[in-house]
Amino acid sequence: MTAKVVLPGLLRDLADGAAELPVELQSQASLGELLDAAFAPWPILATRVRDERGEIRRHVNVFVDGEDAKRAQGVLTPVTPSSTVHVVNAVSGG
């Protein structure tokens, strides 16, 4: 089945304009594994969402099927082959 990662408009240029990145998953995986697969062709996009330790950046939120991953298990949050993951820039700034 195909999980998908939905990108915010501000990051789509880094994925050649794509709004969604499909990922073929055979079984349950972690959010980190899903993002690794989705971003593999787009390494600069990967650096925008996660730091070099693999952590989701402070003012980026990632929702797994509607659940805030930072309030769950972070990049260890489980995803399924039918999951939809939204990457969202946090409503912060000045």
């Binding site: 390494p43 070099e52 330790r53 952590e55 950046r57 980026v60 912060s92 700034g93």
Partner: protein, 356 residues
């Protein structure tokens, strides 16, 4: 001139340094903390360190003066896995005076980095990173970073870095080992030991243009000179309207010549007497004179640590950028200033270069 601001980079070009054309913003909504015009090769390379509050830090370069930008796919500066650390921002980019391919970077958290490919990839200096004092280095309001990187142009093994708080550190063996160099710098905010080995809040250090072992430091309260390559310091604040400020800019060719931009005090971060001004010395800090013609009054802004710089013109230009988004230029050594830009976001760094 590159003008790095809280919300992007502007590039200003001028034929006569009187009339300027602004191009920007580049990297809109990113804090542009560091700039380097690397003129050691043709074409010159412009390196820019910036961070987005959402998308993190980035370092990009342009070999066509901003027409196009290149970013390393995995990031030019990445902390190695064993450090369990993530880069927050690049605060300083400096061309090495000995090797035309080498660029140094100072980062937050407090890291010193060396590039051997003109700023495309960097390696962490382990000697400083693993210094036993690290756990006791502090963070100023803007964060804990190596904000000053000064290679010694006459000794490739010697370099000074500075941070606030933490103070000055020197290497004499090419970066393998580092020793604090803060003797004589007052740390009034440490009530149990106001003259510690390290922990000082040094805001900026500049190296004299002629005597490489002569340095000047604008401290959090206090202005100092070192005549032994940054080991010991003497106060040179007598004659200044205040001893507080963020920046220090040495003349690029004339020795004993330095500009400061004074701030009333740490508790009153506005210009002395609400008159934006620079203070100039031509005798290594023995005497100072106020330069303010063309600078605004009343003014309640100030100039941050990297928001002042000189160019490489034979008649040296001096540039200052303010927290309320103005940039002023002087082509007569600071005697008079004219407005280059206004209504920009807070100016964080200014660097200028003369190109043919």
């Amino acid at each position: 001139m590159g003008i790095g601001t809280r919300k992007g980079l502007w590039l200003a070009r001028s034929e006569d340094r009187q009339s300027w054309q602004l191009d920007g913003p580049h990297f809109l909504m990113s804090e542009v903390l560091s700039l380097l015009f690397d003129t050691r090769s043709d074409p010159p390379r412009l390196l820019v360190g910036f961070r987005s509050s959402h998308w993190g830090p980035s370092l990009q370069h342009s070999d066509d003066l901003g027409a196009s930008w290149v970013e390393h796919p995995e990031g030019s500066i990445r902390f190695p896995p064993d450090t369990d650390t993530a880069l927050k921002a690049t605060w300083q980019l400096v061309a090495d005076p000995h090797d035309p391919d080498v660029v140094w970077a100072g980062t937050e958290p407090q890291g010193l980095w060396r590039s051997e490919d003109r700023g495309e990839t960097f390696e962490l200096n382990r000697g400083l990173w693993e210094h036993p004092h690290r756990p006791q280095w502090g963070e100023g309001y803007g964060g804990g970073a190596i904000h000053t990187v000064l290679p010694n142009p006459q000794d490739p093994e010697s370099m000074l870095v500075a941070m606030s708080t933490g103070g000055v550190y020197n290497t004499r063996d090419g970066g393998s080992s580092w020793a604090p160099g803060n003797t004589g710098i007052h740390a009034y905010f440490m009530p149990h030991d106001e003259w510690p080995e390290f922990g000082q809040c040094v805001h900026k250090v500049a190296r004299d243009a002629v005597v490489a072992t002569r340095l000047y430091a604008q401290n959090h309260r206090g202005v100092y000179r070192s005549d032994d390559d940054g080991v010991t310091w003497v106060s040179i604040e007598e004659g200044l309207p205040t001893n507080f400020g963020m920046t220090a800019v040495a003349h690029p060719r004339e020795g004993d010549t330095l500009w400061l931009v004074p701030i009333a005090s740490d508790g009153e971060r506005i210009p002395p007497g609400a008159q934006l001004q620079v203070q100039r010395t031509d005798d290594a800090g023995k005497s100072w004179r106020t330069q303010q013609q063309g600078l605004p009054s009343p003014s309640y802004t100030n100039v941050l640590r990297d928001a002042a710089g000189t160019d490489t013109h034979q008649d040296t230009g001096l540039y200052v950028g303010t927290r309320n988004g103005e940039v002023y230029a002087s082509t007569d050594g600071g005697e008079s200033f004219s407005l280059v830009a206004q209504q920009l976001p807070d100016v964080l760094c200014v660097r200028a270069v003369t190109l043919s």
